[in-house]
């Protein structure tokens, strides 16, 4: 790693640690710092800290960094600053899976109603949904060479999903609609340690696949023809990147709901601050940034000391979007 990036990285790591502790200490119930510390090192038992706030903070880190990374991958792969996990239709596929499980009982009746109770059915449906959409996109992409076309196909899948969801909603009861809407708000504080472990393993696979393709990503930035002339196996790289993205975005949507803004904005924020397109720098930076922003958003969403919590999905957009606008206006020029 080049030397000039050492300080920024140290600052980011320090920030991440601070944000992590701030996130754990803030919440609706006030808990003394001493008690928080004691329950962190296992000296005291505090259910709220150990089984609610800690898994929530780790979820925030995984969600923020994972979405940031998948956004970065999409933007590089499609050489398009507008790309994000939503664009390939991956998130839409996950939403469709969830809609089929939650709203489907009104439409199909029978067995779907019993499935409703289990949280895992939502997770499985979301992963399956994003995987199927991914499969469809890959089949299409093997026929269509142009990445722009794949981008548009992804958007089309998004429209199809929206249409199916609205048909399903029409036949659903108020309670089912409510559940689906609540899912759409996104949530970080819903995972137990076991669920978090599974989430982490899938996340790790996605991140490892990304690390493997760093060289390919850097070459891709210079254009597909150049990448080819560099001897890069374009098809294989594309495949790995797409699978990594769908693993990351699919599981995140499955476990935390569709979280807006992070996937699109974090890579832009990182590029603005680090002034580089080198993925060796960008990838860890996006990881740190995504995690920090998500922890901050979650701390705000918890509305410390009040009894209420705001939907995380609203906060990510409300807090993050102005930051990106401000960065772009200040620099007058987009780095990409």
């Amino acid at each position: 790693m080049e030397k000039k990036y050492t300080y920024p990285f140290l600052i980011l790591i320090a920030l991440l640690i601070i944000c992590f502790f701030v996130n754990i200490s803030l919440g609706s119930v006030s808990i003394t710092t001493k008690e928080i510390f004691n329950s962190l090192i296992g000296k005291a038992d505090n259910y709220i800290i150990q089984n609610y706030r800690l898994p929530k903070a780790f979820t925030a880190i995984l969600v923020g960094s994972g979405l940031g990374i998948s956004g970065l991958l999409m933007q590089t792969l499609f050489r398009n600053p507008l790309a994000g996990p939503f664009v390939l239709g991956i998130s839409s596929g996950a939403s469709l899976g969830v809609a089929l499980v939650i709203l489907g009982s009104g439409f199909f009746g029978g067995i779907f109603t019993t499935l409703l109770i289990s949280k895992w059915s939502v997770v499985i449906a979301a992963s399956l949904g994003s995987f199927l959409v991914l499969l469809a996109v890959m089949i299409v992409s093997s026929r269509v060479r142009d990445t722009m076309a794949i981008l548009i196909i992804g958007l089309m899948f998004g429209s199809i999903t929206a249409a199916v969801v609205s048909v399903l909603s029409y036949f659903s009861s108020a309670e089912q609609l409510q559940q689906y809407i609540f899912w759409g708000f996104g949530s970080l504080g819903n995972l137990s340690w076991n669920e978090l472990l599974i989430f982490f393993l899938i996340y790790l696979t996605g991140v490892l696949m990304t690390i493997v393709s760093i060289k390919g990503l850097n070459t891709l930035l210079l254009g597909e023809n150049y990448a080819k002339s560099m001897g890069l196996n374009l098809k294989q790289s594309r495949l790995i990147i797409i699978i990594a993205t769908s693993l990351l975005a699919g599981t995140i949507t499955a476990f935390a709901g569709p979280i807006a803004f992070i996937g699109l904005a974090i890579p832009h924020m990182t590029r603005q601050i680090f002034h580089t397109s080198n993925h060796k720098i960008l990838l860890p930076a996006v990881f740190l940034f995504g995690a920090i922003v998500m922890l901050i958003c979650d701390s705000i969403a918890q509305l410390p000391t009040s009894d209420y919590t705001l939907p995380i999905n609203a906060i990510t957009s409300l807090v993050g979007a102005p930051v990106v606008i401000w960065l772009l206006v200040r620099k007058r020029k987009m780095l990409f």
Binding site: G27, S28, V29, Y47, I48, N51, Y52, R53, K56, G106, I117, S118, K119, Y170, F171, S172, S173, A174, E175, Q179, F182, W183, F185, S187, L188, G189, N190, S192, G257, Q302, D307, Y308, T309
Partner: protein, 381 residues
């Protein structure tokens, strides 16, 4: 006669905002004015030849007041009313009605007029036995799923009146029905907060069927029954702590202190832990807060749609840390359903607050009602 009533029915107007008053010749006689003790969402004024039904609060924060003239069919040919003064003019007693919520069904049955019901949206939700029998005989037409009414079928049925309900007054289906000349009256029973006020809406149906006296006496019985149960509950000094609702993700949704659920718990002499909250509608609280306050609560009532302890545990391991869960003191009404799956509490609960209250007393102070069998609530297994 039929022509006149059709003509009268045709005279629907949108919302008359000015208070134009009534022509002098229709002096209020005010005798037999059904006095309302609890309900605030409607009123009835008696005039010599007709009655005026006013609906004041058909949905939360509504600023509209609807006025309907109700004319007995014997008198109808003899009088003329200024159609501009009313949102609709109706001939009573109503002979063909469509209601849109299962909560309206018990009122029809209590007044013995369920045979006037000719259509209902999603009839599977109806559990009340007499109406269920009519549906099974094919006398009640299916009007489509849920809140979206099949307008064509409804227009073909041509009921004299549709009893609707609105969340905010924007319902295209109802607009179309009104345009076609079928009056829609919005029932605001669910907007009332006190359980007795909700039940008093039986008088609203009473006046539509010229059965005010019956409605009055039915309500008096329910009221007396309710107040007696409440009195019995006050006899004990110790009131168990109660938790309600459940989480979706990490947000716990539970009734606020002003809701009728909270009032019922208070009247059952239970200590609902959020009884001092004043929010409108339900509370949506962070898991931490609920856990902190209610982990020691003795009883857990209405854990959302969960129908068994196993389902609750599956949904989140957090639930198992609550004392009420560990002691299996979790009660819900979702397992008490009619023949076709409708939850009877949703249908009957509003009309029979006395039964709901007794159910809750049986849960919180079982020793007070030894021989009583709960109608809606069941201990979850």
């Amino acid at each position: 006669m039929k022509k006149i009533s059709l003509l009268l029915l045709f005279l629907i107007l949108v919302n008359c905002k000015e208070d134009k008053g009534l022509p002098v010749k229709h002096q209020a006689s005010n005798k037999e004015n059904p006095s309302l003790s609890y309900a605030e969402g409607f009123s009835v004024e008696n005039y010599q030849d007709f009655k005026v039904l006013e609906i004041k609060n058909p949905w939360p924060k509504s600023d509209k007041t609807y006025r309907y003239a109700l004319v007995n069919k014997e008198v109808a040919p003899k009088i003329t009313l200024n159609k501009d003064e009313f949102d609709a003019i109706l001939i009573t007693p109503i002979e063909k009605i469509v209601v849109t919520s299962t909560t309206h069904i018990p009122a029809l049955e209590l007044l013995n007029v369920e045979n006037t019901l000719i259509g209902f949206p999603d009839t599977n939700y109806v559990s009340s036995e007499k109406t269920r029998a009519l549906i099974d005989e094919g006398l009640v037409r299916e009007l489509g799923k849920n809140e979206s009414i099949n307008t064509e079928v409804l227009l073909e049925l041509r009921p004299e009146l549709v009893i609707g309900f609105g969340i905010d007054g924007n319902n295209k289906a109802f607009d179309n029905i009104q345009k076609a000349g079928i009056p829609v009256i919005f029932n605001g029973d669910w907007v009332e907060t006190s359980p007795l006020a909700k039940a008093e809406w039986i008088k609203f149906f009473g006046v539509l069927y010229d059965k005010e006296k019956e409605a009055d006496s039915i309500f008096k019985n329910i009221e007396a029954d309710y107040l007696e149960a409440k009195k019995i509950a006050q006899n004990v000094t110790q009131s168990p702590t109660v938790l309600s609702g459940a989480m979706y993700k990490d947000i716990w949704y539970l009734p606020s202190g002003t809701s009728s659920e909270a009032i019922l718990l208070k009247d059952a002499n239970a200590n609902y832990l959020w009884s001092d909250t004043t929010d409108k509608g339900s509370l949506s609280l962070n898991f931490e807060v609920v856990f902190d306050k209610a982990k020691e609560a003795e009883i857990w009532i209405s854990p959302s749609y969960y129908s068994s302890l196993e389902a609750i545990e599956k949904a989140s391991p957090h639930y198992t840390k609550f004392k009420a869960f560990q002691n299996k003191a979790v009660y819900s009404f979702v397992n008490t359903t009619g023949k076709t799956g409708g939850v009877t509490y949703f249908e009957m609960g509003m009309a029979r607050p006395d039964l709901v209250l007794k159910d809750l007393i049986k849960i919180t102070h079982p020793e007070l009602l030894n021989d009583y069998e709960p109608h809606f609530f069941e201990r979850l297994k």
